[in-house]
Assembly symmetry: C2
Homo-oligomer: 494 residues x 2
Amino acid sequence: MTHMSPEEFRRYGHQAVDWIADYWLRLESLPVAPDVLPGQIRQKLPDHAPEHGEPFEALLADMDDVIVPGLLHWQHPRFFGYFPANTSGPAVLADLLSAGLGVQGMSWATSPACTELEQHMLDWLVEILELPGRFRFDGPGGGVIQDTASSAVLVAIVAALYRASNGRVRQDGVESHQYALYVTREAHSAAIKAAIITGLGEQAVRYVKTDPATMALDVAHLDALVKADLAANITPLFTIATIGTTSTAALDPVADIGRICREHGIWLHVDAAYAGVAAVCPELRWLHDGVAEYADSYCTNPHKWLLTTFDCDAFWVADRRWLTDALTILPEFLRNTPSESGMVTDYRNWQVPLGRRFRALKLWAVLRWYGVDGLRHHIRHGIGLAEQFAQWIRADDRFEISAPPRLSLVCFRLRPIHDGPIHGADPNSMNRDLLARVNASGTTFLTHTKIRDEVVLRIATGGTFTECRHAQQSWQVIQQSATALHAENGRPRS
Amino acid sequence: MTHMSPEEFRRYGHQAVDWIADYWLRLESLPVAPDVLPGQIRQKLPDHAPEHGEPFEALLADMDDVIVPGLLHWQHPRFFGYFPANTSGPAVLADLLSAGLGVQGMSWATSPACTELEQHMLDWLVEILELPGRFRFDGPGGGVIQDTASSAVLVAIVAALYRASNGRVRQDGVESHQYALYVTREAHSAAIKAAIITGLGEQAVRYVKTDPATMALDVAHLDALVKADLAANITPLFTIATIGTTSTAALDPVADIGRICREHGIWLHVDAAYAGVAAVCPELRWLHDGVAEYADSYCTNPHKWLLTTFDCDAFWVADRRWLTDALTILPEFLRNTPSESGMVTDYRNWQVPLGRRFRALKLWAVLRWYGVDGLRHHIRHGIGLAEQFAQWIRADDRFEISAPPRLSLVCFRLRPIHDGPIHGADPNSMNRDLLARVNASGTTFLTHTKIRDEVVLRIATGGTFTECRHAQQSWQVIQQSATALHAENGRPRS
């Protein structure tokens, strides 16, 4: 066996760095979405692991031949699907440093810098996003990097159960049909997954109505559901208020929800996975209205729209005690003086996994490379592009905007047609058809959602490499696809 | 704002690669463990995030000035604590490529290559570790990369609950005091954490006795506990058999446990997080005895002892249906034709988080760079060093071996002293003192555990960079520390 020596690492490392730089340079010329059938990538791979080592160049060659053709290119400047998953130079390089260090930050003692840099970065974020001071480590709260908002909401529910039962559930388990969670159907599916994993079951989930125009949580209905549960002797446990839902970037009224939660001792988790980072701009601080007063926990994802390569979900609790009391376990092999002194933070007690990577490095690198003003510029640039898309859509009467455009997201669709040969064509199939055409072009990638049972297309801007000209190119493709669709159905361009 | 351009990325990327190469070269000259007080790293960091961007060189300089002095160097060749967290050149570089691609493999459709390479690598591992064929994707099972063995056992319990209740718990939640889990006190604490998170509570955990000599699960006691639960109308749900426990690398009798599980429909999860990868050596295939016949799920961690940078836990289920039926949620915004065809694997339904990194790349890089024979060499090298340590310990009559040395782990302690001025000194304090002296030397890092209430020191070999001379140096330090300890307590070297 031969390990890769530091000198070989240097040589191949430079090649790998160059490969990425070249990939970013040629991204624009690649089809955004792959054209592969299930199983096709596996067919290109050898049936068995190699008995003997292969040169690193062989891997790099297969990156081009096998991997790249099988990717949806999330970093493509004309990728407007889902929400962005920003990567960026400084984040990639800091993640590289983290991998090279190979330290394991489960406890403070297993690498103090890993824990303390993370605490410090999370405190920095509190300030630049104007989150409440009680989220800071010098208050009762604190922040931690989770892999995703799904894990954040999961541990938030575990903490809420601990608080609601005064610690009893940790020993006794959850009582079936004893607790209720309140979410809207616009909230992220992670809430349902967490209800299943925590043993509450889907039966514990109450779906709160949304306002048909804004898709925001209907506070009166929340109030009614809570009261019905109380009347049935069920404990209202947990409410999610979403700042920027996945489908339409809808904004739940955090303060109004918070007042109900406060009244009944319900844990309020604010899921700002996508939109929270936008509050780095002073003009968008209002996004966090109500958080300071009412949130028991909160998360936002720098790995979505704040240039910090996946995975980096920033999660805070207002009172860290509930979380750590719920999850702390100290087996003998992890005992150490600093942990037992109570003077340090052991992040393993803040999360599902025991082990943890040094993820704070990439957040540090992003904050330092861009500076706060650079981050603001990135957010404003994404919002500007979305506004541009919204204008174009409004100016073309074949289309309609389907929900109030918010931040970097625009939802739109082809209008139903009331004249000519395709009069009365099903607008949902028509819009599915449009989506398929746009994506099949290879130049642009969009995704869809449903609003009030109508299929709509989503344009989510905010990609690291997206410039105005890319938006322009994509808009042309969307228009051309609509024209072709109408023409094939016997309706020339209006 | 300025993004880091591809050309800047190239320049700084080369610097970052060189920084790692240099770090690996100088690792040996660094103290293994840091000498810092709680809060000391934070004091070196500015109170506020920078308003304007800083040059990348500033970050690299702070890596040296702020970060490195605050690390426990897990990759240090004289790090023998916990279990190793191997990093390696090929893994680091493939992880770099993954960060540069920045794709998100939650569904097959969101990057087919990300999913299919992972399936393929997990199938390769089945073959090279001689795991059962039913774990493969062409059988009823399948493998997935989880972040850690903690997440693996968590989703295994969720799947087990689904199976035991015929799917009912997903809707209704868990019935309090209805299910039992069986583990030994030597099993990983992740089992207790998972019992808390899944809503079963610590009350559901039955501690099975261990054999005082081998620390392995006592099958007769397991049988008795299961029967007691059945008599009390409690469903025996889940048993963990550990192949290589954290404290002493003890080996539970998988086949004997499996027979009991089979008889009563108990889900058998085999936790081989540390030791499973050793089965890459034909002479160690016996480690997996019983897995083929009885395991419902199994995990091992290439990020521990198989050169694949954290995080990479390889987790298999014998029947993937229970896992995916328990966790699948398909919101509109994630619907796509391949998912609905049932012809593809959507890994988001195999795990807690929705999003996922392209982690299979690093496993691919490791398997290709080293080849299977290179991996075998690495495992054998680690075992050889542990055997060497065991010989040295046996040859010095001040010490005793505290548990049968296994694989790359040796547990030992200073013998109690029955003569001279420190006759009757508490052996536990004496051994804690020894540990503190060794670690304070900066040259070597060990951790401890307890066996039958006795404090013992653990030497875990298997680090990527550890050569024979490092083991030799560390053994000298251990001997010298013992001599100093005895001398200070009035007992000269025997």
